[in-house]
């Protein structure tokens, strides 16, 4: 179960706060997955008590977008901590789907990759199994496939440390990279933090989703929770 709250001393109107939390939540807590299961209790609450002496922030206020961005970035940091503490997790993985026709399509694809047990076990085993990533993209439940054009699709692993080359292309314009540097792939997959980048090439929207690997330890923890 995900529970959380964010509190601030700014004065924010109820309508402003609702819009802020909705925007931030859609790009943070609704973009994480440990195991693909949704709880009956998930709740994120935000309170603004107005202890700071400044005019009330409303949707129309000049500062609204600035604060909304700050709250979103803050919520992302908090949400990412949950993934880092995923039961049994040894890796923190950012799945970035970019250049999508719509945000919703980018999110659906990112979420499908993030929830794939086979992708997650490959990440644990440090196996550069890009076929599983493609497979997940292919069965993602998009309303239509206008965001997805085979010849424009690119998939890469990206290192998050300063090592070079940072990006390892696995699929280039719909064609598998048959000369994947397996040694470099192993180096990237051995990192505790790494990124999977899917470039759809059909638009300009993007979504980041955060997930972790699936390990033996996850099974140990969850085979014996109630007792």
């Amino acid at each position: 179960t995900l529970l959380g709250f964010i509190v601030t001393d700014l004065p924010i109107s109820p309508k402003g706060l609702q819009k802020m939390l909705s925007f931030a939540g859609q790009r943070s807590f609704n973009c994480i997955s440990v195991d693909g299961d949704m709880s009956t209790n998930d709740t994120i609450c935000m309170i603004a008590n107005g202890a700071v002496d400044t005019p009330t922030i409303d949707v129309e206020s000049k500062e609204f977008n600035e604060i909304c961005e700050q709250v979103t970035g803050f919520a992302q940091k908090l949400a990412q901590l949950v993934v880092r503490d995923g039961e049994g997790a040894t890796k923190f993985v950012t799945v970035k789907v970019q250049n999508s026709k719509t945000f919703d399509d980018a999110k659906i694809i990112a979420e499908t990759i993030s929830n794939s047990m086979l992708v997650k076990t490959a990440l644990y085993g440090e196996d550069a199994n890009w076929g599983r990533i493609l497979c997940a993209i292919g069965y993602s439940k998009l309303d239509n496939v206008t965001s997805l054009v085979n010849e424009k699709l690119n998939v890469s692993f990206v290192a998050t440390d300063s090592s070079e080359p940072a990006e390892l292309p696995l699929l280039v314009n719909g064609v598998p990279n048959l000369n994947v540097d397996e040694a470099r792939a192993s180096e990237i997959l051995a990192l505790p933090d790494l990124k999977i980048v899917v470039d759809l090439g059909t638009g300009s929207e993007e979504c980041n989703f955060w997930t972790c690997d699936l390990t033996h330890e996850y099974v140990t923890i969850n085979g014996d929770y109630r007792s």
Partner: protein, 209 residues
């Protein structure tokens, strides 16, 4: 993989200090709902009494079977028009989910006890996490709420109080999740603070609305 380096996540991700927003006090208590005796109950209270009436918002699970605290908090927010919410009470160890009418009464009783103690009617939200399908041990919870709000157990606005609150909502988490940041408004230069606490390690793929 057996040779993988073990990372001390607590040392990496738990802060050792922090600045917190003005006008909040928090408390926590080990009520005994958790079998291991760890902290399992927390309360956050808005103590700001300026002219501004606090505002609140929340996003909730879209699971069709919503737990009693979800239904109760939603009701409180709607009835209050998202204003004048002054406390959140959270317990861990028992989710108070799939508990029917008894569960609703227990969630209401938790809110009511906080409201009565603080003297602020209809201004408390409630959250629960833990095992699904078990009733709350309300005698322990009620005692714990009294300990926090009347006897001020682990109660305050300093870093240890906030960290203990973060610990009190954990279940299988290996570290408490507490972050805090201050920002300056570009228009006026006024500084404000955001503090966030979360819990979760498994059953995580929220789709809240």
């Amino acid at each position: 993989n057996s040779g993988k380096k073990v990372v001390d996540k607590y040392a990496l991700y738990v802060p050792k200090t922090g600045v917190f927003p003005k006008g909040y006090e928090v408390g926590s208590f080990a009520s005994g709902v958790k079998k291991n005796g760890n902290l399992d109950l927390g309360v956050i209270v808005n103590t700001n009494r300026t002219n501004f009436e606090s505002s609140a918002s929340a996003v909730f699970t879209t699971n069709r079977f919503k737990a009693a605290p979800v239904l109760k908090s939603k009701q409180v927010l709607e009835n209050s028009q998202y204003r004048n919410i002054n406390a959140i009470v959270v317990n861990s160890g028992c989710a108070n989910s799939m508990t029917g009418e008894v569960g609703m009464k227990d969630a209401e009783a938790m809110c009511q006890l906080v409201n009565t103690t603080l003297g602020t009617p209809d201004s408390t939200l409630v959250m629960s996490t833990g095992v699904i399908g078990q009733k709350l041990q309300m005698n322990k919870i009620s005692h714990g709420i009294t300990e926090i709000l009347q006897n001020k157990s682990n109660y305050g606005s300093d870093f240890p109080a906030w960290l203990n609150l973060a610990k009190s909502i954990c279940t299988t988490d290996t570290f408490p999740k507490l972050i805090t940041s201050s920002f300056k408004l570009s228009t006026t230069g006024k500084e404000y603070t955001l503090t966030g606490i979360a819990k979760g390690a498994g059953m995580i793929c929220p789709n809240m609305a």
